[in-house]
Structures are given as C-alpha cells and as structure tokens.
C-alpha cells in the first residue's frame, strides 16, 4: 500500500480547499454554530445527526407499536390517552381499523428504513469509517452532508404524511399494489401513500449518496499500512452494507417510480383486471407480483443492510471486552462476503405463496438455506472469541452478548421460513413476526446499542451511566424474549399477522390473554427504551468525563485520536498502521493489548 499515504494526503489537501468552512485538518477556528452543528461536513457531526434523528424516529415508531399493541392486547377496552395523541383516529380511546393499519405500516417503515438503515449505518459508517481506517474525513464530505439532508427531507415528508387528513400509508411497510396503488382500496392509499413514495425516493437518494461515499472512502483513503486485511471487522461489515445498499436501493427506486406512475399517470405496471369502488378499472396486463419482485430485490438485501453493521460492531465489542482476538478473522470476512452475495439471490423466499413456479421456489429454498452456513460460522466464531477470555461486562459487551443470543434465536426460525414446504403454512403468521423482530429488529438494535455504549466516549467525550445501562440491558433482553417467544406458538397455530381483532375467529380467539401479556411487556420495554434515550441525552452534558484517550484499552485507530477530536481527527500526522486490529495479547509492558500503531517487535510475526 505505497499509494495509501499519497492518496490520503492528496484527498485531504483537496478537501481542505473544498470545504466551505475552510479549515485544514488540525487548525481550529471557532466555527459558526450553523456550520458546526447543522450544515456540518465533519463526519463525526453527521454521524451524531443521523443518530439523533434516528432516535427521534425510533421513539415515534416504538410509541406506535405501543398503541397498536394496546388494541391487540385489549380489544374491548378503551384508552382515552390515545385520543390525546391521535385525535379523531382514536375517538373515545379506541383505534379505528384504518389507523391501526396506518400505525402498523408506519411502525415498519420507520424502524426498518429510518432507524435501522439510516440511523444505524448512517451513524456508525460515518463515525467509524474515517476514524478506524485513519482518514481525516469521508471521500466527499459535501456528499456526506447531502446524504444527511436528503434523509432529513425524507423524514420531513414522512412526518407530514402522519398528519394528512386521510392518514399515512396503511398498506403494510411493503406497500404491495394494488392495495397501495388504488385510492379506492383504502384510506391510506390516498395522499399518505404519495407522500410515502416520495419520502422513500428521497430516502434512496440519501442512502446512495452515503453508500457511495462509504465505499470510496474505505477503498481509497486508508492510512499507510492499513491494508484491507488489517481493517477492523466493523469496517468490513459497514463496507458490505454500503455495497448492498448501492446495488439494491436503485431497484426499490424503480419499483417505487412505477408505482407512482400507476397511481398518478394511468399506467398499468402492477394493475390488471380490477373491480373496485363499484366500477371496473381500465387497467389490463400488469402484474401485481412484479412489484413484489422489485421490492424484495431490495427488501431482502435490506435485511442484511440492517444486520451487517450489528455483526461488525458485535465482533469488535466482543473481542475488545473479552480481551481476546476475534476468532477466525478471515472466516468472518469470508462469511460476510458469502452473506452479501447470497443476499442478492434469495429475495423470492418472501413470495413462495404468490403462485410462482414451484421449481423457481425450490431454487430459492436452496439458496436461502445456504445463508445458514456463513451465519453459523459467525456464531461459532463469536462463541470461540469469548471462550477463555477475560470478559468485562460493560454495557456494550452485554448488548453484544445479547446480540449473539438473539441472532441465534431469530436465525434458527429463519430455517423454518426459508423452507418453502414449511413457509406455505407459516407465511404471514405471527411466526414471521416473531422471526424478523428477533433477528433484524431486536438483534440489530442490540448491535446498535452495543455500538452506542462502546463509542459514546468517542462521540461525546463522556460515558453513559452504567447503572441505567444495566437496567436497560436486562429489561430489554428478557422483555424481548417474553414478547416474541410466545408469538412463535401463535404463528404455528396459524394466527395471521396484521389483524386488528381476533375475537371473531374460532381458531385464534383463545390467544386473547397471551396477547394481553405481550402488550404489557411491550409497554414496559418501551418505557425502558425511553430511559435509555434519557440516559443518552443527559450523559451528553453531564456524563462522567473520559480522562484517557483509550478508555476500553482497544487496539483500533479511533482511540489514538484526542478525547474530543476536531474536524480532521488527528492533530499532527495520521498514524501509521503496523498490525491487524485484534492483537489482544501481552505487549511485554503489562498491557493485554497492542494498538495497531505499534510496530511489530523484532521476530514477531504479523497475523
């Protein structure tokens, strides 16, 4: 990597000239509030913007789930407090079915896209890529800023859609046409749906601007000595996340665009032979299933866009806090490659019961179950990483351990759903709800929490409060199992998802009391998340101050920066890297780790 330095320096110089704020790496001027906090081009500030916007969305999305869980758990009761929040939609304290579906839809959209995509990789790709590969900023700080502001625009549009008269989109987060295409089909398919589509289009733009930036930064801006195989696994994971996003989000964009055409320009991409609202529509020859192919071509990689950052961060955190190298570094990278490739080849396993050819289905079964292999390798490697370690139960470590536990539980149920012969009964039941909430909901959130607790000192120069973090972990971890474990059984009993009320169903009405139990636990867990947000905000201002640049005794580059790094990250030269990121071993001076910047000792073999 002889070029690395020139490239890094070169880009840095260029960036120094570009940047509107006009500051070179380590020269500090007092910046105007607007350039420092709002239209910032500093990757660290942008990452905080993503995180905080994501957290606001997460609270809204989670609050929605509490509202509809109240309906599911207690369909005969009224909750006047909901009327205060939702007005006409919960008149007398009872949700209308239309708004129930709107809440379900927005809960999914918000959490999948706005929190676990933008909020997760937006935060950690921005924070960690330059810091961990030794770059002063992203390849294009300006594009990076645009990425946030397109996300902000998408957020504003989505937020507006919550307040339109006919309500937000209500066709599920997957918004299958014709339901989402026809205003007559549902209230939420009116203006709310147009805003949803527009918001998602802006979201795709944001995601592409960010993703291209992450990829080019990782490929071009690594410091001297930082070969690809010396990158921390977080960077590998965030890199593949960006690759997945860049290759699959445009397909969602095309799907969304065609849906906009069908809705507004009278085309028939997804519509055929429909009689609705008392009249036959002129559309003929379209295919509703086409949309599902386009959607899931993003939708499935999206699952890995959500999972991979958590995997990377869990690897990093598990290794650091058990004071042991990650086991099977190369196997971890190869399994990430395998997951990334297979992610593009399995989308139709969401569509086994759409009437697609059984032969095609069987190919997707094979490819889908193949993903279990790299996933299993990762789990075994994580377990071996903590084996014979010296585990420090920091909050970050607990969440990383919880991540592994939940990833196992949620991953194993994927083996049921990926097998078409079993999916044919479980499809769209609570089994699916339980599966994906555990694996890409809670598990991904645990990866995110691990990241937040681990890198909070780097972001704000302070620690979060540990006692509250422990409460947060145990309640959330046990709560997640209490909420989602029983849902598997309901799914096995065939209980369909997205139902407003089960009391008319002979086959499902006896699950009423367990639904109530789930709702109570979900509400408690919600309040504990609010406690986390509270801890987060207060700790920014009042948390215990970090006194040493490397509070976790970690090996990676971000801990070689000052406690509160300025724009440009390092004062003086960017450090040079001499070894892989997981040298947790005796350094000869009584430390149990050797930073990446320490040259190899005479006779020491590099990894």
């Amino acid at each position: 990597m002889n070029h690395a330095e020139t490239i890094t320096q070169g880009t840095h110089v260029a960036h120094g000239h570009d940047a509107a704020s006009g500051h070179h790496g380590h020269e500090h001027h007092e910046q105007h509030f607007i350039w420092k906090y709002i239209f910032s081009q500093d990757h660290k500030m942008i990452s905080k913007q993503f995180l905080i916007t994501g957290m606001i969305w997460a609270v809204i999305g989670a609050l929605f789930s509490v509202f509809f869980r109240l309906q599911l758990g207690f369909p005969d009761s009224t909750f006047p407090i909901m009327e205060k929040f939702l007005g006409e939609w919960a008149k007398g304290g009872k949700l209308t079915p239309e708004f129930y579906y709107a809440l379900v839809t927005m809960h999914g959209t918000i959490l999948v896209f706005f929190v676990l995509t933008a909020g997760l990789s937006g935060t950690f790709a921005n924070l960690l890529i330059p810091l961990q590969i030794g770059a002063r900023d992203m390849a294009s700080p300006f594009m990076n800023m645009l990425s946030y502001w397109f996300f902000f625009l998408a957020s504003v549009i989505m937020m507006i859609s919550l307040f339109v008269e006919t309500g937000p989109a209500s066709g599920g987060w997957t918004t299958y046409p014709p339901l989402s295409a026809l205003k007559e089909a549902s209230l939420g398919s009116g203006v709310g749906m147009d805003l949803w589509l527009l918001g998602m289009a802006m979201f795709v733009v944001s995601s592409l601007l960010g993703g291209l930036n992450y990829i080019s930064t990782v490929l071009n801006m690594r410091t001297k000595g930082m070969t690809m195989t010396r990158m921390p696994l977080t960077i590998w994971a965030l890199f593949f996340t960006a690759v997945l996003g860049v290759l699959s989000f445009p397909v969602l964009f095309s799907g969304v665009l065609l849906l906009i055409f069908d809705r507004n320009l009278g085309t028939s991409f997804y519509l055929s032979e429909i009689f609705i609202g008392g009249k036959a529509l002129p559309h003929i020859g379209g295919s509703a299933i086409l949309y599902q192919h386009l959607f899931w071509f993003l939708g499935h990689p999206e699952v890995y866009i959500i999972m991979l950052p958590g995997m990377g961060m869990a690897s990093e955190v598990l290794s650091t806090h058990s004071r042991k190298p990650i086991f099977g570094y190369f196997a971890m990278i190869i399994s990430l490659v395998g997951i990334t490739l297979l992610a593009f080849l399995v989308w139709a396993h969401h569509m086994f019961v759409t009437g697609m050819s059984p032969f095609l289905g069987s190919i997707f079964v094979l490819l889908t179950l193949l993903i279990a292999v790299p996933s299993a390798v990762k789990v075994f490697n994580w377990l071996t990483t903590i084996w014979r370690g010296n585990i420090k139960f920091t909050p970050a470590m607990l969440f990383a351990l919880g991540f592994v536990s939940l990833f196992i539980s949620g991953g194993l149920t994927g083996i049921f759903l990926g097998n078409s012969a079993l999916d044919i009964h479980l499809h769209d039941t609570y089994f699916v709800v339980a599966h994906f909430h555990i694996v890409m909901g809670v598990s991904a959130f645990f990866g995110m929490f691990a990241g937040v607790y681990h890198w909070f000192p780097k972001m704000f120069g302070r620690f979060m409060n540990n006692s509250i973090a422990y409460i947060h972990f145990f309640v959330t971890f046990i709560g997640a199992y209490l909420i989602f474990w029983p849902m598997h059984y309901e799914g096995i009993a065939g209980m369909p998802r997205r139902y407003y009320d089960y009391s008319a169903w002979e086959s499902f009405k006896h699950f009423q009391s367990i639904n109530g139990f789930i709702s109570i636990v979900a509400t408690i867990v919600f309040f504990v998340q609010i406690l986390f947000v509270f801890n987060f905000i207060i700790s920014i201002f009042r948390g215990r101050k970090v006194t040493t640049p490397n509070p976790w005794n970690a090996t990676t580059l971000e801990w070689t920066t000052p406690i509160n790094p300025g724009h440009g990250n390092w004062e003086g030269d960017i450090p040079e890297v001499h070894r892989w990121p997981y040298d947790y071993k005796d350094d000869g001076n009584g430390n149990d780790f050797i930073p990446q910047t320490t040259p190899l000792r005479p006779g020491e073999e590099s990894h």
Partner: protein, 347 residues
Amino acid sequence: MSVFLITTLIVLVFVIIYQIGKASEYATVLRGEEKVMAQTNRTIGWLLLATFVFLMWGIWECNEYFKGALLPVAACKTGQNYDSMFNVTVMVTGIVFFATQAVLFWFCFKYQAKDKVSTYFFAHNNKLELIWTTIPAIAMAILVAIGLRNWYEVTSPAPMDATVVEIVGKQFNWLVRYPGQDKELGKRDFRKINDANNVLGLDWTDPHNSDDIISQSGELHVVVNKPVKLLIGSRDVIHDVGLPHFRIKMDAVPGITTTLWFTPTITSDSMKSITKNPNFVYEIACDQLCGKGHYSMRGTIIVESQADYDKWMAKQTSYYSANNPAATPAPAAEPVKTDSVKVVTMK
C-alpha cells in the same frame, strides 16, 4: 392536562432513576473504581446465569401454556407430512438453540473478568472452522431435501378426479363458485361485474355459466377423502386463502389465477369431537393485508360426507336463475351430481 401530568410524572421518575444511577457512579469513584468494577462484574455474571435459567423456565412454561391451544391434527395428508417435517426441523434447530445458548451463557459466567488472568491468544484454527462450516451445510442439505420432497408433493398438479371450485377474494369476503351440472366453470370478465346481480362478472353468453352455483352462505363445502382443487382469484387487491387446518395457503392475485389442492381427511363433525369444541369450524383466513377489513375477511369450509354434500348441493340454485328471474330457468330438476371424474378447467 392529564397528558401533561403523566408526562411530568414519567420525566420525574426518570430523573430519580438517573440520580440514583449518578449516585452509584460517585460511590464507585469514592470506593475505588477497580474494586467496584470487579464486584459489579461478578454480580452481572450471576445475573446472566439467572437470566438464562429464567428464560429456560419461561420456555418450559410457554410450552405448557400452549399445549392443546395449538392447531389440532392436520386435516389432510400433505398436512400430516407438514407436521412431521415441522417436528424434525424443531428438533434440529432446538438442539442447536439449546446448545449454543447454554454455551454462550456458560462462557459468560465461566470467563468473566478476574484479576491477573492472561487470556488465551487463539486467533484461528482451520480444522475447527472447517468442522463448523461442514456440519451446518450437511444439516441444511438434509432439511432442504425433506423440504423439497414435501414442496413438490404439495405443489404437484391436482389429481384428475379432483373437484374444482373457484374461490375469489374481494374486500372483504370470499366468493365461492361451483361448476354446476356441466362440471365446467363458465367464463367471467371483470368488466361484467355488478354487485347487484353479477358479483363475479359471469359472462351470460357462455352456456357453461347457466348452471354455475355461487354459494349463498359463502361457505365452501367439500367432500371428505376426495381431492379438491381451488382456482383462486381476486376482484380487487391481493388476498390470500389461508387454510391453517390444512397447513397450506395461496395468494389471490387480481389478473392471475393461482391454485392449490388438498384432500380433506377429517369431516367438520369429527373435528368437533377431536377438538372437543362444539363450535369448531374450518376457517379460511385472509393472510395478505387487503385493507381496513382484512381482519374480518373470514371464510368457512365444511368438510362432510358425500351424502351430506349432495344434500347441500341440491338446495343450491344456479346463480343465473337466481339473478335473471325473467330468463328461462336453467334446468335444475334432477339432483346435481358434482363428483365428476372429468377434468374441469376454467375457460
């Protein structure tokens, strides 16, 4: 006002919790950080172990709770294969689940931080990695093999002697059409749909339509031990014919005809005694979000003996005669015999 009060209360509770957390932080510093950290670590180690025990107990309790609350025995042959495959998968994944979770929590407890422990520098081991790549691959191959065998069985073409019934979803109920005496479903066209007297848009110029029957109650009647093939369609948005008791479902997509078939083996009446539930009924659940009434899109299936079926069928009148009173009534004198052995297809 009440919202304001509740919000204040919640914020107050959080402030108190935070202050307690903060106080414990100060106490940590006073009592010596190292010492307290070591103590906390031990406590957390025990808590994790307790969590594991609690979760295992919870799983046991959950099993007990749902015993008998799940679906009764599958009411068709493919459904029984389904259940046995399901059990095999539960066993395979169950072993992996308990083994890995136990190892995870045990390692946490066993290898929690202690003073002066040098960890074992163990960066990779090709043999181990090969083993745990191969074993999951073999396990998956077995599950795929069982899966595909069942998948091809359940998606295979319906037997020639299957009774053909059309079921069409609309917001928010199911329409069930029988081919009638001629054993052929007539043509239909969505442009001819009229909610008053032609709910399916039957083309009256097609003579096959003259004797087609649309079940008045919306019930789907089928004969026990006789294969039935459903031709599935939709009038408006995507629905899904979900048959939990037969462990099968299929989407209803506008513009496309999808199919599924099964051979019911247990009549509704026998199922009532099997489940000891006099109200038992085979239900058709819409499994694809289709709008505000999605949760109420319920259909029912009656599985009965041939004699009962014939009796029921005799009471049905053709949709044509019911909705075109002026027209010549379709011949319906003799009891309709629908156990056709002829292949029936929809034109």
